[in-house]
């Protein structure tokens, strides 16, 4: 791989990302409908979450279907600190991120030795255990959840009664941060090791210890960003309960955009989220009211169709094809 063309490709990607972010930032000038703004916020949030998930599961190859745990930790830390101790959500989100990162490292230490499905099921089981504990933790509201009374707009408390724009820009910022972190990692020593490990089992042996440490770090970074997303979601919805922030469904929803867009690619999560989330929302809103399950059928068929139609992800295939062409 020639250094200069590699560098210019990376620079082009960064420029593209900044342009896309700038273009998205202008969207509210055109889109005034609250429902669509809401959909945009969710899309950006899932782009950020899926990007975070992609760091651990896509690049590092540790498939996690338990990221709902970190999302929930962020949501709960933010609202508990605010409602119980009056800590502003900005600090709460950071605290949630730190807690989630610590938990991710603690979970990763024993679990990174597990291979394949054993690891995936371990992540599911740990997240489910977290859900059960939250459902039974009375001080944290247990099943009753926590509600933030929203009384007027406030940047300090990060709550806005009607306007979606502050949430929109926060979600955009988070998605951009997650993208840049991924962009940095791709070209770092970690990224290099991970690729080496994927391509060559012997390299994995010789790199054993450093790779293990880098995986722990990846888990912590991924969990931190996911938890900040969780804290954001809690502020955005202003009510959380264990089922609505920690259920297994969330873990899947975070992984889905990256898989559809292209797992382990820079642009996969964002592209996947931009397609998937509007579809999810629109099918529920316009086909769900009948009670006949049409929304589920349409959504399920679409997921199946995309998974089969573009098994390497929407941006995955062309990138690989380009690489192959270059190699030839």
């Amino acid at each position: 791989m020639a250094g200069s063309s590699h560098d210019s490709a990376r620079r082009n990607n960064l420029i593209l990302a900044i342009c896309v972010a700038a273009a998205v930032a202008c969207l509210p000038l055109v889109v005034k409908d609250v429902y669509i703004q809401n959909m945009l916020v969710l899309t950006l949030m899932y782009a950020a979450l899926s990007q975070s998930w992609n760091i651990l599961s896509g690049y590092c190859g540790q498939i996690s279907l338990g990221h709902a745990l970190y999302f929930g930790l962020g949501a709960y830390a933010t609202l508990l600190l605010f409602t119980k101790f009056g800590v502003l959500p900005w600090f709460g989100m950071i605290a949630g991120g730190v807690i989630a990162a610590a938990v991710a490292a603690a979970v990763g230490y024993p679990c990174f030795r597990l291979k394949g499905h054993y690891f995936v099921i371990a992540t599911i089981v740990i997240a489910e255990a977290g859900l059960l504990l939250m459902l039974n933790w009375d001080w944290a509201g247990a099943a009753m959840g926590i509600e933030v009374p929203v009384r007027g707009d406030s940047w300090a408390k990060f709550q806005f009664a009607r306007s979606k724009l502050p949430y929109f820009y926060f979600a955009l910022g988070l998605a951009l941060v997650a993208w840049i972190v991924t962009w940095k990692i791709e070209d770092s020593r970690w990224g290099y090791w991970w690729r080496a490990v994927k391509d060559n089992a012997e390299a994995a042996e010789s790199l054993g210890v450093v790779v293990f440490r880098s995986k722990m770090a990846a888990a912590a970074v991924s969990a931190f960003l996911t938890a900040v997303g969780g804290g954001f979601y809690a502020q955005f919805v202003s009510y959380i309960d264990p089922e609505s922030v920690m259920s297994f469904q969330f873990s899947l929803l975070m992984a889905l955009p990256a898989v559809l867009g292209g797992i382990g690619t820079l642009w996969g999560p964002a592209v996947g989220a931009a397609i998937l989330i509007p579809i999810t929302e629109v099918t529920r809103s316009y086909a769900g009211g009948t009670g006949k399950g049409f929304d589920l059928i349409v959504y399920g068929l679409l997921v199946m169709g995309i998974a089969l139609g573009r098994p390497e992800g929407i941006v995955g295939a062309p990138l690989r094809a380009r690489k192959r062409a270059k190699a030839a």
Binding site: V20, D33, Y35, L42, M144, A161, S238, E243, P278, G291
Partner: protein, 415 residues
Amino acid sequence: MKLNRREALAGAAALAASLGASGAYAADEIVVGAVFPMSGSTAQTGVDARNAIETALAIVNAKTDLDLPLAKDAGLTGLGGNKIKVVYADHQGDPQKGRAEAERLITQDKVTAIIGCYHSSVSATVSQTCERYAVPFMCADSSSPSLNKRGLKFFFRASAHDEMFSAAMFDLMDMLRKQGQKIETLALFHEDTIFGTDSANVQTKLAAARGYKIVADVKYRANSPSLTSEVQQLKSGNADVLMPSSYTTDGILLVRTMAELGYKPKAIIAQAAGFSEKALYDAVGDHLEGAITRGSFSLDLATKRPMVGKVNDLFKKTAGKDLNDNTSREFTAMITLADAINRAASTDGEKIRAALAATDISGDKTIMPWKRIKFDETGQNNDCDPVLLQYVGKKFVTIFPESGAIAKPLWPMKG
């Protein structure tokens, strides 16, 4: 070719906008939003709610001889005979989706009010959203006592909350005690989501206040594949009264497991939910002869108030089942809301709110066994005494309060 994010978003936005525009209504229609679970594990409730609301609309929008508000004329007389149309949205039991749907209904469909939402958690976010947009929220069937205590101006609940429901259950036990029955120990059996937790919290408080001893307090995971260990704990507690707070699924499994482990409780007083659903009695009714459940509604009322039977027949025609605890509340909430919109003679949120606050419908003009519908300053109706029903001979009979009772309680149950 890479599909870029902007194009995808723009496409989606155009799609949503076109779909939104298709929701335009005839100018003379008054649009109300209904947010219920229409898919997922509680979809049945949402589908039933839709039937109940449509039954109410049929009565409000057409000329009937029923003695209900608005029944005698076609449409709303206060708004020149305009008809009400309800648009339904699915929240799948998720507070975030409920909130998003409420926002969509308010901003796109321009609904004048919202009715919902079954899950207390979703009612919490939807009512919050309604408050922000100054649109009245009619809480049809969520019974968490905290909902009306959040200082919301646009929240209204015509039916009882869990504190009132549980109080009625303890009133019955107090009465039976006075009549010489030995009722000292209770077993609570409740699921771990908001409904069961809420119900058990209230029951624990009431038990302490009124001198009952809780010998088993079994909180279980909702939709567990097995309830064997849980039933064993109930069995070893062998309380005088078993008080389950369970949805239909867990209720069916509970009763089956009790039968299989040879546990016959002396009496059951249930917090409705699953125990007021036909599906549960179809499945395990044999074991429930004499079981008692609290409820908001009783078909027995039809003997005193024939209109109740007629409404039930109308509902049964579309839904294929009798009105029950939930559907009767949804029906009544819709009628109450329609009455307020009619009196407000406007589709303005503030005016409808004022009309709702001034609501005063006497009990005999409803299908419920209530004294009246009149909201206090928190939006709660306090004159909606619950009833207690006993399952005897394959149907429910009202046994409490004594004013509405048509039979003496069968105690202990036969099982």
